[in-house]
Symmetry: C2
């Protein structure tokens, strides 16, 4: 049966070109006041002014739900490490008590702690935990997210992580797009020989992941002490040859060349981008690569510098925002906090942040034609907020204003 | 009827001396695992290990509620400006679009916007809005908050704000302690003559507020361009003479002398403290003045510098944490975000932040003997969180982990 959501004070449709938004187009929210959205069979049948939508042939017989507030496309979180075994509470305690990164590492913390825990955890428990976390994302208005492997760093454990994503998809309505991030770090077994590890991934891991269709994307962490730009390009090209869409973690800690390395392999997005230079930005604009910015991690790490959103937008690079949810550097699942951090620390306007977390997030996952806008024919993924004005989602911060989430036309979360 | 909350994985009691916590005592959480809390007539009858509490004479007949997770004393938010007429969305939009503070002010923004809106708003609407906001605090685990006037800055409008707090108290179970902050800024009517305005408050406003018993505390903003340290001491002494407990906004923007000015008048807390020097810290320790730190506002303003919590704690000053919830510089009602910001930006440990937001928050409001700890005989104000370990409340950030709030023994919020 069709559902008619009525009484919406402000609906942001993000109707527009069938392409990622860049420049001034990032501020075009497609705002409709006193709006309604009509949904049938998981698809948006009509969206716009309440009066216009009420005239649709399906409206009369539809189930009416009066919602009020602000309605957006469900958030599309294009960068998460949401599958992991346990939070890094010990590291957190040590860090807040003044321990250095080296001291934490010496105590068995850091990524090695996550790797050990992931290798030990059974798949069933991993999937159940991920599904529980997915519930927290849904409550905050996120309807789709990318999920990376990368805390196993062995054939079996990377496969286990991706199989856990697949198994969790049966337990939660949140749509998850898996990414193989076996090239997250060099595991102890290959210590000192990053290239040998990449060769191993290409020879052993990628084919298995491809055969089981366990991942859509392949990603690599291009940074000093991890993988070089040359290695990133070579690896991502090999992955692309096996059918994976490349992504890259680039210029997070320094300007090292990862952005252009990713672009050379056809990366759909270059993520973090904290330290991009003009040449990187020009290359992204040229290639149409999306910059996925992750400012919540900057907050958690206590960094002074945030990603240069204004330069990227001024130069015409489409910008997406994502949580970077992960146990080591960003334990935040709420996209609303990311919106706020992007406004207050990256100089983005509320309109730009909302575009970046919806339509551009969808494009960063190759789903722009299907998700990220409230337009007839697109998937009915919606988030409703207790607010009179959409800017409140960015202005009030550190909490959750979402009161209802709709995935493929079904209400999957509703605050009583 | 008595209620028995059972199955609590971790209960932080903060049992201890009947005094604000300082130094190493701020890390003593009184953690009990596998705990229970027994409540009768709004008072805690027993709290501790599940087995011990089950032997209490009231336990057998009590209504049992299995809750799991982490239980804390309800947060005591000792510094908010929660009564105001409207969010400053226009200012926010201008600021994120690059406008300077001067440009925002020239467009009618800043505190003048809040003053105009407050003076126009009827008392009933103001009270209803405050009660709605109080609901958001309750959902995040806050059971008591201080609420300041200070957006009216005229006799009638300041009275209206405080009367709205009193009226709102009939509409929400959240306990609110009102503070007269008529000395927030010099209003247009007294432009250029701060002393004349203070004399007016002392002569006209304080006596009326005292006569109607509308406020517990009197507060002043001591900062360059607002009120001098000499004015602050004189004003707060006059207020104290009329029965108000002094508080002070001090060293927020610069080291200006407000902390010692407040102490000279017997301030119970000195709030913000971003720019305190060693002499200020020594004076606070000497006087037993509580430093109420407000790091969420630093985040919102994009500041690099945060309050020096480590120095304060090292020197034995009792530290409280509060939201500073207000429409201009901190639209955040969630104490959990404050905990996280204090850990990641002020170097506080999770234990210290939780102490600062509960027991020390209560002492900052003069309620330490009654609130802020889960100890037999104290008021049954509790917050329950969906977490296995209390550190998760600080570690995960930007969202709400609270699932149930109990005020005076009654469940006032429960997530389904």
């Amino acid at each position: 049966m069709a559902i008619l959501f009525t009484g919406i004070k402000q609906l942001l449709t993000f109707a527009g070109d069938n392409a990622p938004r860049a420049g001034a187009a990032m501020r075009e929210t497609g705002l409709v006041k006193n709006a309604a959205v009509l949904v049938e069979n998981g698809i948006i049948a009509a969206a716009g002014s309440g009066a216009a939508v009420a005239r649709h042939r399906l409206a009369k017989k539809a189930k009416k739900i009066a919602v009020g507030g602000v309605c957006l496309p469900g958030f599309v979180d294009s960068h998460t490490h949401a599958v992991f075994a346990e939070p890094r509470l010990k590291d957190f305690s040590m860090r807040t008590a003044g321990a250095s990164y080296q001291e934490i590492k010496a105590a068995g913390g850091g990524i090695l702690a996550s790797i050990g825990a992931v290798r030990r955890q059974p798949l069933g428990a991993m999937a159940a935990q991920l599904a529980a976390r997915a519930g927290r994302f849904l409550e905050c208005g996120t309807t789709t997210m990318e999920v990376k492997s990368g805390y196993g760093l062995s054939l079996e454990s990377e496969l286990k992580m991706l199989r856990a994503v697949r198994a969790a998809a049966e337990l939660t309505p949140l749509e998850m797009l898996p990414t193989l991030l076996a090239a997250h770090s060099v595991p102890p077994e290959f210590a000192g020989d990053a290239q040998k590890y990449l060769d191993h991934i290409v020879a052993e891991v990628l084919p298995r992941v491809a055969a089981e269709k366990l991942a859509v994307f392949a990603d690599i962490f291009c940074e000093k002490g991890y993988f070089t730009p040359e290695q990133a390009t070579g690896y991502l090209k090999a992955a692309a040859g096996l059918g994976f869409r490349p992504k890259v973690h680039s210029e997070q800690l320094s300007n090292y060349g990862g952005t252009r390395a990713g672009i050379a392999a056809g990366a759909i997005s270059a993520d973090h981008a904290d330290h991009v230079y003009a040449e990187d930005i020009a290359a992204m604009r040229e290639a149409g690569t999306i910059a996925a910015l992750l400012p919540a991690s900057n907050f958690y790490l206590g960094l002074v510098k945030y990603p240069p959103a204004r330069e990227l937008i001024a130069e015409g690079v489409p910008v997406a925002l994502a949580t970077d949810f992960n146990p080591g550097t960003c334990p935040c699942w709420n996209m609303q906090f990311v919106l706020s951090a992007a406004c207050t620390h990256c100089g983005m306007t509320p309109e730009e942040t909302l575009c970046a977390a919806t339509v551009n997030g969808a494009w960063a996952l190759g789903l722009g034609g299907r998700l990220g806008a409230v337009v007839p024919g697109m998937q009915a993924d919606l988030a409703f907020f207790n607010a009179d004005d959409y800017r409140e989602l960015c202005y009030y911060f550190g909490a959750n204003q979402c009161v209802m989430t709709v995935k493929k036309g079904k209400i999957v979360y509703r605050k009583p």
